[in-house]
Symmetry: C2
Subunit: 315 residues, 2 copies
Amino acid sequence: MSVYTKVTPSQLADWLKRYSVGTLTELRGIDAGIENTNYFVTTTHGRYVLTLFERLPERSLPFYLGLMAHLARQGIPCPAPILDHSSGLYSILNGKPAALVTRLAGAPVLSPEPAHCAAVGAVLADMHVAGQSFPATLENPRGPKWWRETAPLVGPFLDTTRRQLLDAELAFQSRYRFQDLPRGPIHADLFRDNVLWDDERIGGLVDFYFAGVDAWLFDVAVTLNDWCTHPDGEIDGRRAIALLGAYHAARPFTAIERGAWPAMLRAASLRFWLSRLHDFHLPRPGELVHAHDPEHFRRILELRIRDAHVLPWIA
Amino acid sequence: MSVYTKVTPSQLADWLKRYSVGTLTELRGIDAGIENTNYFVTTTHGRYVLTLFERLPERSLPFYLGLMAHLARQGIPCPAPILDHSSGLYSILNGKPAALVTRLAGAPVLSPEPAHCAAVGAVLADMHVAGQSFPATLENPRGPKWWRETAPLVGPFLDTTRRQLLDAELAFQSRYRFQDLPRGPIHADLFRDNVLWDDERIGGLVDFYFAGVDAWLFDVAVTLNDWCTHPDGEIDGRRAIALLGAYHAARPFTAIERGAWPAMLRAASLRFWLSRLHDFHLPRPGELVHAHDPEHFRRILELRIRDAHVLPWIA
Protein backbone atom coordinates (compact mmCIF):
# COMPACT_ATOMS: atom_id res chain seq x y z
CA MET A 1 0.00 0.00 0.00
CA SER A 2 1.64 3.19 -1.15
CA VAL A 3 -1.09 5.80 -0.78
CA TYR A 4 0.06 7.43 2.45
CA THR A 5 -1.78 10.68 1.88
CA LYS A 6 -5.38 10.46 0.72
CA VAL A 7 -6.56 12.92 -1.92
CA THR A 8 -10.24 13.13 -2.86
CA PRO A 9 -11.44 14.08 -6.36
CA SER A 10 -12.86 17.35 -5.04
CA GLN A 11 -9.60 18.25 -3.25
CA LEU A 12 -7.68 17.51 -6.42
CA ALA A 13 -10.10 19.39 -8.69
CA ASP A 14 -9.58 22.41 -6.46
CA TRP A 15 -5.77 22.07 -6.54
CA LEU A 16 -5.79 21.61 -10.33
CA LYS A 17 -7.18 25.13 -10.74
CA ARG A 18 -3.59 26.30 -10.45
CA TYR A 19 -2.85 24.45 -13.73
CA SER A 20 -4.00 24.68 -17.37
CA VAL A 21 -4.67 20.96 -17.66
CA GLY A 22 -8.44 21.09 -18.08
CA THR A 23 -10.86 19.36 -15.74
CA LEU A 24 -10.44 16.15 -13.77
CA THR A 25 -12.03 13.03 -15.24
CA GLU A 26 -10.30 10.23 -13.28
CA LEU A 27 -8.24 9.79 -10.11
CA ARG A 28 -6.74 6.44 -9.13
CA GLY A 29 -4.18 5.52 -6.45
CA ILE A 30 -1.03 3.62 -7.50
CA ASP A 31 0.08 0.71 -5.30
CA ALA A 32 3.80 1.02 -5.98
CA GLY A 33 6.72 2.94 -4.57
CA ILE A 34 7.68 3.32 -0.96
CA GLU A 35 8.94 6.88 -0.84
CA ASN A 36 5.98 8.80 -2.20
CA THR A 37 2.22 8.70 -2.68
CA ASN A 38 1.30 8.38 -6.34
CA TYR A 39 -1.98 8.73 -8.23
CA PHE A 40 -2.89 8.37 -11.88
CA VAL A 41 -4.73 11.54 -12.88
CA THR A 42 -6.68 11.97 -16.10
CA THR A 43 -8.02 15.34 -17.21
CA THR A 44 -9.69 16.56 -20.36
CA HIS A 45 -6.20 17.50 -21.65
CA GLY A 46 -4.10 14.49 -20.83
CA ARG A 47 -2.85 11.74 -18.54
CA TYR A 48 -0.62 12.57 -15.61
CA VAL A 49 0.94 11.17 -12.46
CA LEU A 50 0.39 13.09 -9.23
CA THR A 51 3.15 12.56 -6.67
CA LEU A 52 2.96 13.68 -3.05
CA PHE A 53 6.43 13.69 -1.51
CA GLU A 54 6.23 11.96 1.85
CA ARG A 55 9.88 11.90 2.90
CA LEU A 56 12.12 13.66 0.40
CA PRO A 57 13.46 16.94 1.74
CA GLU A 58 11.57 19.77 0.05
CA ARG A 59 14.85 21.55 -0.70
CA SER A 60 15.82 18.71 -3.06
CA LEU A 61 12.62 18.88 -5.14
CA PRO A 62 13.82 21.68 -7.45
CA PHE A 63 16.75 19.44 -8.43
CA TYR A 64 14.66 16.34 -9.14
CA LEU A 65 11.79 18.09 -10.87
CA GLY A 66 14.01 20.60 -12.65
CA LEU A 67 16.21 17.79 -13.96
CA MET A 68 13.19 15.89 -15.31
CA ALA A 69 11.90 19.04 -17.00
CA HIS A 70 15.35 19.74 -18.46
CA LEU A 71 15.79 16.20 -19.80
CA ALA A 72 12.26 16.04 -21.21
CA ARG A 73 12.78 19.31 -23.08
CA GLN A 74 15.88 17.80 -24.67
CA GLY A 75 14.02 14.74 -25.91
CA ILE A 76 14.90 12.24 -23.18
CA PRO A 77 11.80 10.08 -22.66
CA CYS A 78 11.06 10.88 -19.00
CA PRO A 79 8.13 12.38 -17.11
CA ALA A 80 7.83 16.12 -17.70
CA PRO A 81 6.62 18.16 -14.72
CA ILE A 82 3.71 20.43 -15.59
CA LEU A 83 4.21 24.04 -14.53
CA ASP A 84 1.44 25.80 -12.66
CA HIS A 85 0.28 29.33 -13.41
CA SER A 86 3.08 30.82 -11.36
CA SER A 87 5.60 28.56 -13.17
CA GLY A 88 6.00 26.45 -10.03
CA LEU A 89 7.20 22.85 -10.29
CA TYR A 90 5.35 21.80 -7.14
CA SER A 91 3.08 23.16 -4.42
CA ILE A 92 1.44 21.94 -1.24
CA LEU A 93 -1.54 19.56 -1.45
CA ASN A 94 -3.03 18.17 1.77
CA GLY A 95 0.06 19.21 3.66
CA LYS A 96 2.61 17.58 1.35
CA PRO A 97 4.68 18.98 -1.51
CA ALA A 98 3.03 17.65 -4.66
CA ALA A 99 3.88 17.65 -8.36
CA LEU A 100 2.01 16.77 -11.52
CA VAL A 101 4.07 15.06 -14.26
CA THR A 102 3.17 13.58 -17.63
CA ARG A 103 2.24 9.91 -17.62
CA LEU A 104 4.31 7.83 -20.02
CA ALA A 105 3.12 4.83 -21.98
CA GLY A 106 4.49 1.35 -21.56
CA ALA A 107 5.36 -1.34 -19.04
CA PRO A 108 8.60 -2.78 -17.64
CA VAL A 109 10.39 -5.69 -19.31
CA LEU A 110 11.60 -7.94 -16.53
CA SER A 111 13.53 -10.50 -18.65
CA PRO A 112 15.53 -8.28 -20.97
CA GLU A 113 17.26 -9.44 -24.14
CA PRO A 114 20.53 -7.91 -25.41
CA ALA A 115 18.48 -5.58 -27.68
CA HIS A 116 16.74 -4.12 -24.61
CA CYS A 117 20.10 -3.64 -22.91
CA ALA A 118 21.45 -1.85 -25.97
CA ALA A 119 18.45 0.52 -25.97
CA VAL A 120 18.95 1.20 -22.26
CA GLY A 121 22.67 1.84 -22.74
CA ALA A 122 21.98 4.31 -25.54
CA VAL A 123 19.34 6.27 -23.65
CA LEU A 124 21.50 6.34 -20.52
CA ALA A 125 24.36 7.90 -22.49
CA ASP A 126 21.97 10.38 -24.11
CA MET A 127 20.59 11.25 -20.68
CA HIS A 128 24.10 11.95 -19.39
CA VAL A 129 24.91 14.19 -22.35
CA ALA A 130 21.58 16.03 -22.12
CA GLY A 131 22.04 16.52 -18.36
CA GLN A 132 25.39 18.28 -18.80
CA SER A 133 23.67 21.63 -19.36
CA PHE A 134 21.45 21.31 -16.27
CA PRO A 135 22.67 23.98 -13.88
CA ALA A 136 21.40 22.80 -10.47
CA THR A 137 23.33 20.36 -8.35
CA LEU A 138 22.63 17.80 -5.63
CA GLU A 139 25.15 15.35 -4.27
CA ASN A 140 24.23 11.72 -4.93
CA PRO A 141 22.19 11.00 -1.79
CA ARG A 142 23.43 7.39 -1.73
CA GLY A 143 27.13 8.15 -2.30
CA PRO A 144 30.23 7.37 -0.19
CA LYS A 145 29.18 9.72 2.61
CA TRP A 146 25.93 7.80 3.00
CA TRP A 147 27.79 4.46 2.88
CA ARG A 148 29.98 5.53 5.79
CA GLU A 149 26.95 6.68 7.79
CA THR A 150 24.92 3.57 7.07
CA ALA A 151 27.54 0.83 7.63
CA PRO A 152 27.61 1.28 11.43
CA LEU A 153 23.80 1.10 11.55
CA VAL A 154 23.55 -2.25 9.77
CA GLY A 155 26.84 -3.76 11.00
CA PRO A 156 25.32 -5.13 14.26
CA PHE A 157 22.90 -7.27 12.22
CA LEU A 158 25.66 -9.00 10.21
CA ASP A 159 27.59 -12.19 10.93
CA THR A 160 31.37 -12.00 11.05
CA THR A 161 31.97 -12.98 7.41
CA ARG A 162 29.58 -10.35 6.12
CA ARG A 163 30.86 -7.69 8.49
CA GLN A 164 34.40 -8.33 7.29
CA LEU A 165 33.27 -8.10 3.66
CA LEU A 166 31.55 -4.79 4.36
CA ASP A 167 34.50 -3.34 6.26
CA ALA A 168 36.98 -4.48 3.61
CA GLU A 169 34.92 -3.04 0.79
CA LEU A 170 34.50 0.31 2.54
CA ALA A 171 38.27 0.39 3.05
CA PHE A 172 38.85 -0.54 -0.61
CA GLN A 173 36.45 2.12 -1.88
CA SER A 174 37.94 4.79 0.39
CA ARG A 175 41.20 4.51 -1.56
CA TYR A 176 39.41 5.58 -4.79
CA ARG A 177 38.69 9.16 -5.66
CA PHE A 178 36.08 9.17 -8.40
CA GLN A 179 36.06 12.97 -8.63
CA ASP A 180 38.26 12.85 -11.73
CA LEU A 181 35.77 10.85 -13.77
CA PRO A 182 33.36 12.59 -16.16
CA ARG A 183 30.32 13.47 -14.10
CA GLY A 184 26.95 15.16 -14.06
CA PRO A 185 23.36 14.38 -13.12
CA ILE A 186 22.75 10.62 -12.95
CA HIS A 187 19.57 8.61 -12.47
CA ALA A 188 21.32 6.30 -9.98
CA ASP A 189 18.48 3.77 -9.84
CA LEU A 190 17.79 2.72 -13.44
CA PHE A 191 16.62 -0.79 -12.63
CA ARG A 192 14.30 -2.77 -14.88
CA ASP A 193 11.17 -1.55 -13.09
CA ASN A 194 12.13 2.06 -13.83
CA VAL A 195 12.11 1.72 -17.62
CA LEU A 196 8.78 1.55 -19.46
CA TRP A 197 8.64 -0.12 -22.86
CA ASP A 198 6.15 0.74 -25.56
CA ASP A 199 6.49 -2.38 -27.71
CA GLU A 200 10.25 -2.62 -28.31
CA ARG A 201 10.81 1.10 -27.89
CA ILE A 202 11.64 2.83 -24.62
CA GLY A 203 8.50 4.72 -23.62
CA GLY A 204 10.12 6.31 -20.61
CA LEU A 205 12.61 6.36 -17.76
CA VAL A 206 10.82 6.95 -14.47
CA ASP A 207 11.49 7.56 -10.77
CA PHE A 208 14.22 10.17 -10.65
CA TYR A 209 13.99 10.53 -6.88
CA PHE A 210 17.39 8.97 -6.20
CA ALA A 211 19.09 11.16 -8.80
CA GLY A 212 22.11 13.27 -7.95
CA VAL A 213 25.38 14.50 -9.38
CA ASP A 214 28.01 11.79 -9.51
CA ALA A 215 30.31 9.94 -11.92
CA TRP A 216 28.43 8.88 -15.05
CA LEU A 217 30.22 5.55 -14.80
CA PHE A 218 28.50 4.87 -11.46
CA ASP A 219 25.15 5.10 -13.30
CA VAL A 220 26.43 2.64 -15.92
CA ALA A 221 27.53 0.23 -13.18
CA VAL A 222 24.20 0.44 -11.32
CA THR A 223 22.33 -0.17 -14.56
CA LEU A 224 24.52 -3.06 -15.70
CA ASN A 225 24.30 -4.77 -12.31
CA ASP A 226 20.55 -5.02 -12.78
CA TRP A 227 19.97 -5.32 -16.54
CA CYS A 228 22.85 -7.62 -17.46
CA THR A 229 22.99 -9.95 -14.48
CA HIS A 230 21.66 -13.48 -14.09
CA PRO A 231 19.51 -14.27 -11.02
CA ASP A 232 22.63 -15.72 -9.34
CA GLY A 233 24.44 -12.38 -9.75
CA GLU A 234 26.80 -13.46 -12.55
CA ILE A 235 27.15 -11.00 -15.42
CA ASP A 236 25.56 -12.05 -18.74
CA GLY A 237 28.32 -11.13 -21.20
CA ARG A 238 26.05 -10.71 -24.22
CA ARG A 239 23.73 -8.31 -22.47
CA ALA A 240 26.64 -6.45 -20.85
CA ILE A 241 28.45 -5.93 -24.16
CA ALA A 242 25.18 -4.81 -25.77
CA LEU A 243 24.62 -2.19 -23.04
CA LEU A 244 28.21 -0.97 -22.93
CA GLY A 245 28.56 -0.90 -26.72
CA ALA A 246 25.43 1.17 -27.24
CA TYR A 247 26.42 3.54 -24.44
CA HIS A 248 29.91 3.92 -25.91
CA ALA A 249 28.49 4.66 -29.38
CA ALA A 250 26.46 7.56 -27.99
CA ARG A 251 29.01 8.84 -25.43
CA PRO A 252 32.47 7.28 -25.77
CA PHE A 253 34.07 6.04 -22.57
CA THR A 254 37.39 7.64 -21.60
CA ALA A 255 40.61 5.89 -20.62
CA ILE A 256 40.21 6.92 -17.00
CA GLU A 257 36.77 5.31 -16.94
CA ARG A 258 38.25 2.06 -18.18
CA GLY A 259 40.64 2.11 -15.24
CA ALA A 260 37.87 2.82 -12.74
CA TRP A 261 35.40 0.23 -14.09
CA PRO A 262 36.17 -2.71 -11.77
CA ALA A 263 36.03 -0.55 -8.64
CA MET A 264 32.88 1.18 -9.89
CA LEU A 265 31.00 -2.08 -10.38
CA ARG A 266 31.90 -2.92 -6.78
CA ALA A 267 30.78 0.53 -5.59
CA ALA A 268 27.42 0.09 -7.29
CA SER A 269 27.04 -3.34 -5.65
CA LEU A 270 27.98 -1.97 -2.23
CA ARG A 271 25.48 0.89 -2.50
CA PHE A 272 22.52 -1.48 -3.02
CA TRP A 273 23.74 -4.07 -0.55
CA LEU A 274 23.84 -1.33 2.08
CA SER A 275 20.45 0.16 1.26
CA ARG A 276 18.80 -3.25 1.23
CA LEU A 277 20.42 -4.15 4.52
CA HIS A 278 19.10 -0.91 5.94
CA ASP A 279 15.58 -1.40 4.57
CA PHE A 280 15.56 -5.02 5.79
CA HIS A 281 16.92 -4.59 9.30
CA LEU A 282 15.70 -1.08 10.03
CA PRO A 283 12.38 -0.84 8.20
CA ARG A 284 10.18 2.17 8.51
CA PRO A 285 6.60 1.42 9.62
CA GLY A 286 4.60 -0.26 6.85
CA GLU A 287 7.67 -0.79 4.70
CA LEU A 288 8.60 -4.40 5.43
CA VAL A 289 6.46 -5.88 2.69
CA HIS A 290 8.57 -4.10 0.06
CA ALA A 291 12.00 -5.01 1.43
CA HIS A 292 14.26 -6.85 -1.03
CA ASP A 293 16.60 -9.63 0.01
CA PRO A 294 19.96 -7.96 0.82
CA GLU A 295 21.83 -11.16 -0.03
CA HIS A 296 21.38 -10.64 -3.78
CA PHE A 297 23.68 -7.63 -3.78
CA ARG A 298 26.09 -9.23 -1.30
CA ARG A 299 26.58 -12.03 -3.85
CA ILE A 300 26.94 -9.52 -6.68
CA LEU A 301 29.60 -7.64 -4.73
CA GLU A 302 31.57 -10.84 -4.12
CA LEU A 303 31.33 -11.83 -7.78
CA ARG A 304 32.51 -8.39 -8.96
CA ILE A 305 35.50 -8.67 -6.59
CA ARG A 306 36.22 -12.17 -7.91
CA ASP A 307 35.90 -11.09 -11.55
CA ALA A 308 37.88 -7.84 -11.33
CA HIS A 309 40.20 -8.93 -14.15
CA VAL A 310 37.64 -10.52 -16.47
CA LEU A 311 34.92 -7.88 -16.64
CA PRO A 312 33.15 -7.05 -19.90
CA TRP A 313 34.22 -3.71 -21.38
CA ILE A 314 34.22 -1.81 -24.67
CA ALA A 315 37.32 -0.12 -26.00
CA MET B 1 3.32 18.85 -52.42
CA SER B 2 4.76 20.60 -49.43
CA VAL B 3 8.33 19.34 -49.27
CA TYR B 4 10.14 22.38 -50.63
CA THR B 5 13.50 21.49 -49.11
CA LYS B 6 14.70 17.93 -49.48
CA VAL B 7 16.41 16.30 -46.50
CA THR B 8 18.06 12.91 -46.85
CA PRO B 9 18.29 10.42 -43.98
CA SER B 10 22.05 10.86 -43.78
CA GLN B 11 21.78 14.66 -43.69
CA LEU B 12 19.21 14.38 -40.94
CA ALA B 13 21.18 11.78 -38.96
CA ASP B 14 24.09 14.20 -39.00
CA TRP B 15 21.94 17.15 -37.87
CA LEU B 16 20.34 15.04 -35.11
CA LYS B 17 23.75 14.69 -33.43
CA ARG B 18 23.04 18.08 -31.88
CA TYR B 19 20.12 16.47 -30.00
CA SER B 20 19.68 13.74 -27.37
CA VAL B 21 16.89 11.99 -29.25
CA GLY B 22 18.70 8.76 -30.09
CA THR B 23 19.25 7.53 -33.62
CA LEU B 24 17.08 7.98 -36.71
CA THR B 25 14.84 5.07 -37.66
CA GLU B 26 12.36 6.68 -40.10
CA LEU B 27 12.01 9.85 -42.17
CA ARG B 28 8.90 10.63 -44.18
CA GLY B 29 7.77 13.83 -45.94
CA ILE B 30 4.35 15.30 -45.07
CA ASP B 31 2.15 16.51 -47.91
CA ALA B 32 0.39 19.25 -46.02
CA GLY B 33 0.95 22.88 -45.19
CA ILE B 34 1.98 25.64 -47.54
CA GLU B 35 4.31 27.73 -45.40
CA ASN B 36 6.87 25.17 -44.30
CA THR B 37 8.47 21.85 -45.21
CA ASN B 38 7.47 19.12 -42.77
CA TYR B 39 8.73 15.60 -42.15
CA PHE B 40 7.69 12.88 -39.74
CA VAL B 41 10.85 11.76 -37.91
CA THR B 42 11.09 8.64 -35.78
CA THR B 43 14.12 7.93 -33.61
CA THR B 44 14.90 5.31 -31.02
CA HIS B 45 13.54 7.72 -28.38
CA GLY B 46 10.34 9.01 -29.91
CA ARG B 47 8.25 10.42 -32.71
CA TYR B 48 8.79 13.96 -33.89
CA VAL B 49 7.92 16.45 -36.60
CA LEU B 50 10.78 18.22 -38.35
CA THR B 51 9.85 21.63 -39.75
CA LEU B 52 12.02 23.65 -42.12
CA PHE B 53 10.83 27.25 -42.19
CA GLU B 54 10.63 28.35 -45.81
CA ARG B 55 9.17 31.82 -45.46
CA LEU B 56 8.67 32.83 -41.85
CA PRO B 57 11.11 35.54 -40.78
CA GLU B 58 13.77 33.92 -38.61
CA ARG B 59 13.38 36.69 -36.02
CA SER B 60 9.84 35.46 -35.30
CA LEU B 61 10.86 31.84 -34.60
CA PRO B 62 11.79 32.41 -30.94
CA PHE B 63 8.24 33.65 -30.37
CA TYR B 64 6.50 30.72 -32.09
CA LEU B 65 8.76 27.98 -30.74
CA GLY B 66 9.14 29.57 -27.33
CA LEU B 67 5.36 29.89 -27.02
CA MET B 68 4.85 26.24 -27.92
CA ALA B 69 7.48 25.20 -25.35
CA HIS B 70 5.89 27.42 -22.72
CA LEU B 71 2.37 26.11 -23.34
CA ALA B 72 3.49 22.46 -23.45
CA ARG B 73 5.30 22.85 -20.12
CA GLN B 74 2.04 24.11 -18.63
CA GLY B 75 0.06 21.11 -19.84
CA ILE B 76 -1.50 22.52 -23.00
CA PRO B 77 -1.57 19.67 -25.54
CA CYS B 78 0.61 21.18 -28.25
CA PRO B 79 3.88 20.21 -29.94
CA ALA B 80 6.88 20.73 -27.65
CA PRO B 81 10.09 21.86 -29.36
CA ILE B 82 13.06 19.68 -28.45
CA LEU B 83 16.08 21.66 -27.26
CA ASP B 84 19.47 20.87 -28.75
CA HIS B 85 22.66 20.52 -26.71
CA SER B 86 23.16 24.28 -26.65
CA SER B 87 19.51 24.73 -25.56
CA GLY B 88 18.63 26.09 -29.01
CA LEU B 89 15.04 25.92 -30.26
CA TYR B 90 16.12 25.75 -33.91
CA SER B 91 19.19 25.71 -36.10
CA ILE B 92 20.04 25.67 -39.79
CA LEU B 93 19.49 22.48 -41.83
CA ASN B 94 20.14 22.55 -45.58
CA GLY B 95 20.12 26.33 -45.52
CA LYS B 96 16.80 26.71 -43.72
CA PRO B 97 15.98 27.33 -40.04
CA ALA B 98 14.69 23.98 -38.77
CA ALA B 99 13.07 22.77 -35.55
CA LEU B 100 12.24 19.38 -34.11
CA VAL B 101 8.97 19.16 -32.16
CA THR B 102 7.11 16.27 -30.52
CA ARG B 103 4.59 14.50 -32.73
CA LEU B 104 1.12 14.34 -31.21
CA ALA B 105 -1.36 11.53 -31.61
CA GLY B 106 -4.72 11.88 -33.29
CA ALA B 107 -6.50 13.13 -36.38
CA PRO B 108 -8.79 16.07 -37.16
CA VAL B 109 -12.58 15.85 -36.76
CA LEU B 110 -14.09 17.63 -39.73
CA SER B 111 -17.77 17.38 -38.73
CA PRO B 112 -17.70 18.44 -35.09
CA GLU B 113 -20.52 17.87 -32.63
CA PRO B 114 -21.30 20.26 -29.76
CA ALA B 115 -19.14 18.11 -27.43
CA HIS B 116 -16.12 18.69 -29.69
CA CYS B 117 -16.80 22.42 -29.69
CA ALA B 118 -17.01 22.42 -25.89
CA ALA B 119 -13.63 20.68 -25.65
CA VAL B 120 -12.11 23.19 -28.08
CA GLY B 121 -13.58 26.13 -26.15
CA ALA B 122 -12.15 24.82 -22.88
CA VAL B 123 -8.65 24.20 -24.23
CA LEU B 124 -8.64 27.59 -25.97
CA ALA B 125 -9.41 29.31 -22.67
CA ASP B 126 -6.76 27.24 -20.89
CA MET B 127 -4.26 28.14 -23.60
CA HIS B 128 -4.99 31.84 -23.13
CA VAL B 129 -4.53 31.60 -19.36
CA ALA B 130 -1.34 29.54 -19.69
CA GLY B 131 0.06 31.97 -22.26
CA GLN B 132 -0.30 34.96 -19.92
CA SER B 133 3.06 34.24 -18.32
CA PHE B 134 4.90 33.93 -21.65
CA PRO B 135 7.25 36.90 -21.77
CA ALA B 136 8.03 37.29 -25.48
CA THR B 137 5.81 39.27 -27.78
CA LEU B 138 4.97 39.39 -31.47
CA GLU B 139 2.18 41.46 -32.99
CA ASN B 140 -0.53 39.36 -34.63
CA PRO B 141 0.92 39.12 -38.17
CA ARG B 142 -2.62 39.13 -39.65
CA GLY B 143 -3.97 42.02 -37.60
CA PRO B 144 -5.43 45.41 -38.63
CA LYS B 145 -2.11 46.68 -39.98
CA TRP B 146 -1.97 43.72 -42.35
CA TRP B 147 -5.61 44.22 -43.37
CA ARG B 148 -4.86 47.79 -44.41
CA GLU B 149 -1.80 46.69 -46.38
CA THR B 150 -3.56 43.79 -48.10
CA ALA B 151 -6.85 45.43 -49.09
CA PRO B 152 -5.29 47.59 -51.85
CA LEU B 153 -3.55 44.50 -53.27
CA VAL B 154 -6.72 42.46 -53.67
CA GLY B 155 -9.14 45.32 -54.35
CA PRO B 156 -8.47 45.40 -58.13
CA PHE B 157 -9.69 41.78 -58.40
CA LEU B 158 -13.09 42.50 -56.81
CA ASP B 159 -16.37 43.57 -58.37
CA THR B 160 -18.02 46.74 -57.15
CA THR B 161 -20.27 45.07 -54.57
CA ARG B 162 -17.43 43.20 -52.97
CA ARG B 163 -15.11 46.19 -53.05
CA GLN B 164 -17.76 48.26 -51.30
CA LEU B 165 -18.21 45.55 -48.67
CA LEU B 166 -14.46 45.43 -48.08
CA ASP B 167 -14.10 49.22 -47.86
CA ALA B 168 -17.10 49.54 -45.55
CA GLU B 169 -15.83 46.81 -43.24
CA LEU B 170 -12.35 48.30 -43.04
CA ALA B 171 -13.94 51.64 -42.16
CA PHE B 172 -16.17 49.97 -39.55
CA GLN B 173 -13.26 48.10 -37.96
CA SER B 174 -11.09 51.22 -37.91
CA ARG B 175 -13.54 52.78 -35.44
CA TYR B 176 -12.87 49.98 -32.91
CA ARG B 177 -9.93 49.96 -30.60
CA PHE B 178 -9.52 46.43 -29.31
CA GLN B 179 -6.50 47.35 -27.16
CA ASP B 180 -8.69 47.51 -24.07
CA LEU B 181 -9.74 43.87 -24.30
CA PRO B 182 -7.94 41.17 -22.31
CA ARG B 183 -5.07 40.04 -24.49
CA GLY B 184 -2.04 37.80 -24.75
CA PRO B 185 -0.63 35.17 -27.08
CA ILE B 186 -3.33 33.72 -29.35
CA HIS B 187 -3.23 30.81 -31.81
CA ALA B 188 -5.14 32.87 -34.39
CA ASP B 189 -5.77 29.92 -36.74
CA LEU B 190 -7.44 27.22 -34.65
CA PHE B 191 -9.46 25.71 -37.49
CA ARG B 192 -10.68 22.10 -37.48
CA ASP B 193 -7.58 20.86 -39.30
CA ASN B 194 -5.35 22.25 -36.55
CA VAL B 195 -6.85 20.18 -33.72
CA LEU B 196 -5.96 16.50 -33.45
CA TRP B 197 -8.36 14.14 -31.64
CA ASP B 198 -7.31 10.98 -29.88
CA ASP B 199 -10.71 9.28 -29.66
CA GLU B 200 -12.94 11.93 -28.11
CA ARG B 201 -10.07 13.66 -26.33
CA ILE B 202 -8.01 16.51 -27.77
CA GLY B 203 -4.61 15.02 -28.62
CA GLY B 204 -3.13 18.33 -29.64
CA LEU B 205 -3.38 21.82 -31.06
CA VAL B 206 -0.96 22.24 -33.94
CA ASP B 207 0.40 24.86 -36.35
CA PHE B 208 1.21 27.86 -34.21
CA TYR B 209 2.85 29.72 -37.07
CA PHE B 210 0.15 32.39 -37.30
CA ALA B 211 0.26 33.05 -33.57
CA GLY B 212 0.78 36.51 -32.14
CA VAL B 213 -0.28 38.74 -29.31
CA ASP B 214 -3.81 40.06 -29.73
CA ALA B 215 -7.20 40.14 -28.03
CA TRP B 216 -8.19 36.71 -26.72
CA LEU B 217 -11.67 37.36 -28.05
CA PHE B 218 -10.29 37.51 -31.59
CA ASP B 219 -9.08 33.92 -31.12
CA VAL B 220 -12.54 32.91 -29.89
CA ALA B 221 -14.13 34.53 -32.93
CA VAL B 222 -11.74 32.87 -35.41
CA THR B 223 -12.37 29.50 -33.76
CA LEU B 224 -16.14 29.87 -33.62
CA ASN B 225 -16.32 30.97 -37.26
CA ASP B 226 -14.85 27.62 -38.26
CA TRP B 227 -16.04 25.14 -35.62
CA CYS B 228 -19.60 26.35 -35.13
CA THR B 229 -20.58 27.35 -38.64
CA HIS B 230 -22.69 25.49 -41.22
CA PRO B 231 -21.27 25.12 -44.74
CA ASP B 232 -23.41 28.10 -45.80
CA GLY B 233 -21.72 30.28 -43.17
CA GLU B 234 -24.65 30.45 -40.72
CA ILE B 235 -23.76 29.94 -37.07
CA ASP B 236 -24.92 26.64 -35.50
CA GLY B 237 -26.35 27.86 -32.19
CA ARG B 238 -25.87 24.58 -30.31
CA ARG B 239 -22.22 24.28 -31.23
CA ALA B 240 -21.60 27.98 -30.61
CA ILE B 241 -23.14 27.89 -27.14
CA ALA B 242 -21.16 24.73 -26.34
CA LEU B 243 -17.89 26.41 -27.34
CA LEU B 244 -18.61 29.72 -25.63
CA GLY B 245 -19.95 28.06 -22.48
CA ALA B 246 -16.92 25.84 -22.02
CA TYR B 247 -14.58 28.75 -22.69
CA HIS B 248 -16.46 30.93 -20.20
CA ALA B 249 -16.28 28.20 -17.54
CA ALA B 250 -12.50 28.08 -17.81
CA ARG B 251 -11.87 31.83 -18.34
CA PRO B 252 -14.94 34.01 -17.74
CA PHE B 253 -15.68 36.62 -20.38
CA THR B 254 -15.68 40.24 -19.24
CA ALA B 255 -18.35 42.86 -19.86
CA ILE B 256 -16.13 44.69 -22.33
CA GLU B 257 -15.75 41.50 -24.34
CA ARG B 258 -19.51 41.13 -24.53
CA GLY B 259 -19.68 44.60 -26.05
CA ALA B 260 -16.93 43.85 -28.57
CA TRP B 261 -18.25 40.43 -29.65
CA PRO B 262 -20.27 41.44 -32.75
CA ALA B 263 -17.42 43.55 -34.15
CA MET B 264 -14.90 40.82 -33.30
CA LEU B 265 -16.78 38.13 -35.21
CA ARG B 266 -16.74 40.50 -38.19
CA ALA B 267 -13.00 41.17 -37.73
CA ALA B 268 -12.27 37.43 -37.70
CA SER B 269 -14.32 37.02 -40.89
CA LEU B 270 -12.58 39.93 -42.58
CA ARG B 271 -9.12 38.56 -41.73
CA PHE B 272 -9.76 35.25 -43.49
CA TRP B 273 -11.66 36.77 -46.38
CA LEU B 274 -8.64 38.99 -47.01
CA SER B 275 -6.04 36.24 -46.72
CA ARG B 276 -8.00 33.93 -48.98
CA LEU B 277 -8.45 36.69 -51.52
CA HIS B 278 -4.72 37.26 -51.39
CA ASP B 279 -3.85 33.55 -51.72
CA PHE B 280 -6.37 33.17 -54.55
CA HIS B 281 -5.54 36.19 -56.66
CA LEU B 282 -1.85 36.55 -55.84
CA PRO B 283 -0.66 32.97 -55.35
CA ARG B 284 2.97 32.16 -54.77
CA PRO B 285 4.46 29.63 -57.18
CA GLY B 286 3.17 26.14 -56.48
CA GLU B 287 0.56 27.36 -54.05
CA LEU B 288 -2.59 27.49 -56.18
CA VAL B 289 -3.64 23.93 -55.47
CA HIS B 290 -4.11 24.79 -51.78
CA ALA B 291 -6.06 28.03 -52.25
CA HIS B 292 -9.46 28.08 -50.53
CA ASP B 293 -12.49 29.74 -52.00
CA PRO B 294 -12.52 33.33 -50.69
CA GLU B 295 -16.30 33.53 -51.07
CA HIS B 296 -16.88 31.39 -47.97
CA PHE B 297 -15.57 34.09 -45.67
CA ARG B 298 -17.22 36.86 -47.66
CA ARG B 299 -20.55 35.16 -46.93
CA ILE B 300 -19.62 34.70 -43.28
CA LEU B 301 -18.77 38.39 -43.00
CA GLU B 302 -22.12 39.38 -44.49
CA LEU B 303 -23.99 37.02 -42.18
CA ARG B 304 -22.18 38.33 -39.08
CA ILE B 305 -23.09 41.89 -40.11
CA ARG B 306 -26.69 40.83 -40.64
CA ASP B 307 -26.87 38.98 -37.31
CA ALA B 308 -25.12 41.62 -35.16
CA HIS B 309 -28.06 41.74 -32.74
CA VAL B 310 -28.85 38.02 -32.57
CA LEU B 311 -25.43 36.46 -31.97
CA PRO B 312 -24.95 33.59 -29.53
CA TRP B 313 -23.26 34.62 -26.28
CA ILE B 314 -22.78 33.44 -22.70
CA ALA B 315 -23.36 35.75 -19.77
